[in-house]
């Protein structure tokens, strides 16, 4: 379980990026964090593995405060894939890059190879395991960054904008990965600007604006018409399915599946 209490964070130089965050995330939850550029999403998740330390407030992991625990140790429980893959990738070979994390966590030999292979298969990069990461395009480097976190088998997996730059196929892959992680009982936290992906793949949506949590709840509630003015303050538009559903008075239809069901129910 992750508990964030009264979290305030100022970047050196004075700008306040987080302005009092209270949030509890249960084991096995799939949570999406959304909000306009600069609303503090990336800053927030960097507190969960200790890369950033609160200016005020506290972060608890499984009931114990993370203060004073090294990032390298938190990394065994919380995996974080960075927003920009190029700020993460450093190895000369795809396989070495993916092996870096699990190796640091002490895996060796067959266990290490199995973890690396499974992660590469999950993101569809098993065919390029021996290539140089910089010979891959941006979208595949992004998937590589994701694989290098998956290979660590952490109980909490955090993905910072995993679908950015992906085509429909790539988005589908990320969707599958999120749902597999959820099915395996792992906690998944993802930052995204893709409202359709958010509504489809997550059971809980946290809306951020100016370093605060504005809305928090299941997609159907967060994207319901009552929330639209709040969404607009952080420059978000609800997914198309929600807008169509509201226009046709079908109630809260955050996902296409629920929209189609509502339409079918009305027709039938």
């Amino acid at each position: 379980m992750i508990e964030i209490r009264g979290l305030v964070f100022d970047y050196p130089g004075g700008s306040r990026a987080l302005d009092g965050i209270d949030l509890t995330i249960q084991d096995g939850e799939r949570v999406a964090i959304i909000g306009q550029n600069g609303s503090g999403k990336s800053t927030l998740v960097k507190h969960l593995n200790g890369l950033l330390r609160p200016t005020m407030g506290e972060v608890f992991l499984d009931g114990a405060p993370t203060a004073g625990i090294r990032v390298a140790h938190l990394a065994a429980r919380v995996g974080l894939a960075f927003q920009d893959p190029d700020r993460q990738i450093f190895a000369g070979k795809v396989r070495t890059e993916v092996a870096f994390g699990p190796r640091n966590l002490g895996r060796r030999g067959g266990e290490l190879a199995a973890a690396v292979d499974a992660a590469l298969v999950a993101v569809g990069l098993d065919g390029v395991a021996d290539q140089n990461p910089y010979d891959l395009g941006y979208s595949r480097r992004k998937l590589l960054a994701l694989a290098s976190i998956l290979a660590m088998d952490t109980r909490v997996v955090i993905l910072d904008e995993p679908t950015t730059g992906q085509d429909a196929d790539g988005v589908d892959r990320v969707r599958r990965i999120v749902s597999d992680l959820g099915a395996a009982g792992r906690t998944v936290i993802a930052i995204s600007h893709d409202m359709r992906f958010v509504a489809d793949s997550f059971e809980r949506v946290v809306v951020m604006g100016a370093g605060r949590v504005l809305l928090d709840g299941p997609p159907a509630n967060v994207f319901a018409e009552a929330g639209w003015p709040t969404l607009a303050t952080t420059y978000l538009e609800p997914p198309l399915a929600a807008r169509v559903g509201a226009r046709l008075d079908l109630g809260a239809t955050a996902t296409e599946v629920s929209l189609i069901e509502a339409l079918a129910a009305r027709a039938g």
């Binding site: 593995n49 890369l51 390298a72 990394a75 700020r87 993460q88 450093f90 190895a91």
Partner: protein, 294 residues
Amino acid sequence: MSERSARRRADGIDDATTAPPPGADQLSEADAAYLAGLAPATPTAYHRQNPLTKATAATMATLGAFVLGGYVGPLAILVLGVVPGAIVAGLLGRLVRLAALISLPIAVSVALVSVFTRAGETVLFVIGPFDATLEGVDFAAQIIVRLFVIAMALGLFGLTTDPRALVVDLERRGVPPRVAFAAAATLETIPAMIERAQTIQAAQRARGLDTEGSLGARVRGVMPLVGPVILSSLTEVEERSLALEVRAFGRPGRRHLLWTLPDSGRQRLVRWLLVGLFLAVAVGRVSGSLPAPL
């Protein structure tokens, strides 16, 4: 303000081939304010020295440390030249950290290689087939001292000189813009490299690399970074030069510089004195009239 000068202002490119319009010397207040805003910030007297003066100082300190060798010479350059400059510029602490960071990876490899491979009389200790000799330790220490002094000298230049100021000043002295840009790009790579190394290292910590632990772990973390960090900085410079090219940077012809940097007879004198001092030392060293390095 004419429409043309307004446009020129907006895209920051000067009209190179035509003569300036009549009355171009009298800037409107708004234009003057804009141009003043372009000039680099110069918080201290050291920052305000002409870029060429600072570059000369850094180059002479670097060459001097090489030519003098030993410990006393390079350390004298450090203590008498670089450190006072850094104090005036108000960034001694930052400079020391930066120089340590830059010289650490090379220092470690130099130490490993020379301590164990240098032949010598006095064996200090033995690890497997390797014996560490006093001569090896001495050699490594000399190299590391020189390296640190050079990193400090170049770092002081880098931290106090806006690369744009260097470009402008070199162009004013008739250096082709391309060469001036190459010089500035090199200068800009250093902070970019450091920033990049730090972010990648944060990502490595997020994947379980324990850099908060032992020195050994830190060094192990830095080593694999050196290649990719240098490579990606070079790519970045290449991309930037392409971006400049599409904005007609390479266009031939005369150009107007939007600001000039102060230079003075005294600074010119200082530069020639530095060069002269270095030449005297070099000649003294080669001819054997200076005592052997201590």
